[in-house]
């Protein structure tokens, strides 16, 4: 029987001591902090570029042009301080002599040939105004020929579509229904990457500092390990929130200024089935990786010794990504099936298939049962390793030793 007050104390102690460490917050806020810095640089840089481009667009200068395409409207060119000349040679000579600031040579077919632009040197950035003016004049003249600004936008690919599909007579979810359950996958990656080392080192401290014997005569090993796993869940949740809040704030308040894609959140579809299955898969996946990493940590004398095993776990986590095109297009192929049912590749594969709607319910149930069941088994093994390892100070614990040892209760 596990004493609930002891479990509560372990969770409280572990959560409190982690959340009061500066190191934890530095690590947690590092990624969102870097994002903020990148966004800020992007914002400042974007603002300056926009201002400069705006200034360039409004800069007036004299120019000459030749037009083999017959698209340029002379009236528009004149309004922009342009003068048509008889030959390219003349325009070029005038630029060289400085009598005009620029010369544009429009080819017969501007869609296939480049517009030749010549100008008085105004620096690398300042020279951009010549190209801008040349293309703007061409666009304005083309629009003038079409005779309708709306048609011009359509011709330039400015039209948008809104697709609705049906399945069994009901409106089927599009990309808007894929994104919400796919966020579980993002959360899984973030938490495992951020917390992997913490999971590995969950029990190493007790061993390194010789705390194990004192604590094992005060509470059960299982209580200690379950408490540590629960505290990792709590800390993981805090990290998710700490990560999501700055990103969310940036999206809501600075989306336009930071060039973040304009995703219409109101269009997202939160379908109950995939959301519930995704949540269960996420928690089960987190539990499996946590208990496995805790077991590895319990077997190793130091975090350094455990690091290669963590790398192995990360590889299994990323392995399905290499087959993501198959997961999306051909979920029935053997490799995807194998990834779906192998416990350590199932989390990513199943979460992707769940989001895309290609995960049958029975497969989801099998995966969920396997993830939770295996988590419990691995946690039991972790407890045994921890108890065995507790008296193997400074040594690696062999699995053979753990299961062969009669001396462990």
């Amino acid at each position: 029987m596990m004493r609930s007050h002891a479990l509560r104390e372990v969770v409280t102690f572990e959560v409190r001591r982690t959340l009061t460490k500066k190191r934890f917050w530095i690590a947690t806020l590092l990624v969102p902090g870097l994002l903020v810095v990148i966004f800020a640089i992007s914002f400042v840089s974007g603002s300056s570029s926009d201002a400069a481009t705006q200034a360039q667009s409004s800069t007036r200068f004299t120019f000459e042009y030749v037009d083999l395409s017959n698209i340029i409207d002379p009236a528009l060119a004149k309004a922009a301080a342009g003068t048509k000349v008889a030959s390219a040679e003349q325009g070029l000579a005038d630029v060289k002599s400085g009598s005009v600031t620029a010369f544009f040579a429009y080819p017969a077919d501007p869609t296939k040939q480049a517009i030749e632009v010549y100008g008085v040197n105004d620096g690398v950035f300042g020279n951009g105004k010549y190209s801008t003016a040349a293309t703007n004049l061409l666009k304005a003249s083309a629009t003038q020929k079409i005779g309708s600004p709306e048609l011009s936008v359509i011709v330039q690919g400015g039209a948008t579509t809104h697709t609705t599909t049906f399945e069994n007579g009901q409106v089927a979810g599009g990309i808007e229904s894929v994104i919400p359950p796919l966020l579980y996958l993002v959360l899984l990656y973030i938490v495992i990457i951020l917390m992997g080392n913490q999971m590995l080192s969950a029990t190493v401290e007790e061993k390194e500092n010789r705390v194990t014997e004192m604590i094992l005569t005060t509470i059960r090993a299982k209580t200690l390990l379950v408490g540590k796993v629960v505290s990792l869940f709590v800390i993981g949740f805090v990290q998710m929130v700490a990560f999501a809040v700055p990103v969310g704030l940036a999206f809501v308040f600075f989306r336009d200024k930071l060039n973040i894609p304009n995703l219409d959140l109101s269009a997202l579809q939160f379908q109950a089935g995939p959301m519930v299955i995704g949540a269960l898969l996420l928690v089960g996946s987190f539990a499996l990786f946590t208990s496995t990493l805790v077991a590895i940590g319990a077997a190793m004398p130091t975090v350094k010794d455990a690091a290669p095993f963590f790398a192995g776990m990360v590889i299994t986590l990323f392995l399905p990504i290499y087959a993501v095109s198959l997961i999306i297009t051909s979920p029935q192929v053997p490799i995807v099936q194998a990834f779906t049912f192998f416990p350590y590749t199932a989390p990513v594969t199943a979460l992707v298939r769940n989001a895309l709607g290609s995960l049958p319910l029975w497969v989801a149930i099998v995966d969920i049962v396997v993830l939770y069941g295996l988590s419990a088994v691995v946690l039991q093994i972790a407890v045994r390793i921890f108890k065995y390892g507790s008296i193997e100070y400074g040594k690696k614990v062999s699995l053979k030793g753990v299961f062969a040892a009669r001396g462990i209760r």
């Binding site: 029987m1 004493r3 007050h5 002891a6 104390e9 372990v10 102690f13 001591r17 460490k21 401290e205 500092n209 010789r210 705390v211 014997e213 004192m214 604590i215 094992l216 005569t217 005060t218 509470i219 059960r220 209580t223 108890k387 507790s390 008296i391 100070y393 009669r406 001396g407 462990i408 209760r409």
Partner: protein, 314 residues
């Protein structure tokens, strides 16, 4: 059956610790062959032996960390479980604390695990730190403390919540003489408060000062077991220091243990009459400057039992 703590069952007159035909093997290595002993309530018990004799193994088996190969190990009539061990105080040989946490936080945590409320655990911790002279370190991280200060904190964690059974595995290891005395006083306080103490130590003066009964473990069996006087009687006899420049003649009445310049040590049985021996030496013409009979010390007995094994003993 509900779980009862050690304290709840302590009215019984049965021994608090009962170990019967305990055997322990690791693979083909037999560490404990056949060990039986009991510790009565309120008793202070010295569990002695050379390094590697199986003392820590016995304690770990008693506390459920090891599963015994055979035999019965009971505390208060039952196999120990952390669930009913709120009032067990265990100071292991391999000991340490959470290094990156503050002293008072760690002590409060262990107090909470032992069933104390947060405020009482904290209050007790601060009072204890005051007593052992490190109150100013209450909020310091454990790894900022000296080894001796950390030992004090560990002892504090051990004796929290008035333990009924204290198991101390080499409690004075790493202590200077001043702090060793302080620690002895604390153990004596616990003893006076009614705690049963099981103590592993290599300091025989501590044994003679504190222990009611002792057990000397050798080759996985109890080589000696009883009160200090009983063990002395069993292994002891009397040592006689004779200061003389003459050669002491051999005799059936005594055994010559050592001879140095001007001093000879004799060993006689418990029943020997030392005055007769003195008379025989004088009548043999020896010029005896002094003749000092003393009981054999526990140190002597320890060395006699463990011989070469004891060379590694601190």
């Amino acid at each position: 059956m509900g779980v009862m703590s050690i304290a709840e069952r302590s009215t019984s007159s049965d021994p608090l610790v009962h170990i019967e035909h305990f055997g322990m093997s690791f693979g083909r290595t037999e560490v404990i062959e056949d060990l039986s002993f009991e510790i009565g309530r309120g008793e202070t018990f010295g569990f002695l032996g050379s390094n590697g004799s199986g003392k820590t193994t016995t304690i770990r088996a008693l506390l459920g960390i090891y599963q015994p190969t055979r035999g019965v190990l009971l505390i208060d009539g039952r196999v120990f479980s952390p669930d009913n061990g709120d009032r067990l105080g265990y100071l292991p040989e391999e000991r340490g604390l959470y290094q990156k946490e503050s002293v008072v936080d760690v002590m409060t945590y262990f107090g909470r695990l032992k069933g104390l409320g947060h405020a009482p655990a904290r209050k007790w911790s601060l009072a204890y730190l005051e007593r052992v002279g490190i109150a100013d370190k209450a909020t310091a991280r454990i790894d900022k403390l000296s080894q001796g200060q950390q030992q004090k904190v560990q002892l504090g964690v051990t004796i929290m919540n008035d333990p009924e059974l204290l198991i101390l595995d080499e409690p004075t290891k790493g202590f200077d003489p001043v702090n060793r005395r302080l620690l002895m006083e604390i153990i004596e306080d616990q003893k006076r408060a009614g705690a049963t103490v099981m103590m592993v130590t290599h300091q025989m003066e501590e044994v003679e000062r504190l222990c009611d009964r002792i057990l000397l473990l050798k080759d996985g069996t109890a080589r000696a077991y009883g009160t200090v006087d009983e063990v002395r009687a069993e292994f002891g006899g009397t040592r006689i220091r004779v200061d003389t420049d003459d050669a002491v003649p051999p005799s059936d009445a005594y055994e010559i243990v050592s001879t140095e310049q001007g001093r000879t040590e004799l060993e006689v049985g418990n029943d020997a009459d030392t005055s007769v021996i003195l008379a025989s030496l004088v009548s043999a013409g020896l010029a005896v400057r002094s003749f000092t009979p003393t009981l054999k010390s526990l140190d002597d007995i320890f060395i006699e039992i463990y011989g070469a094994d004891a060379k590694g003993v601190e």
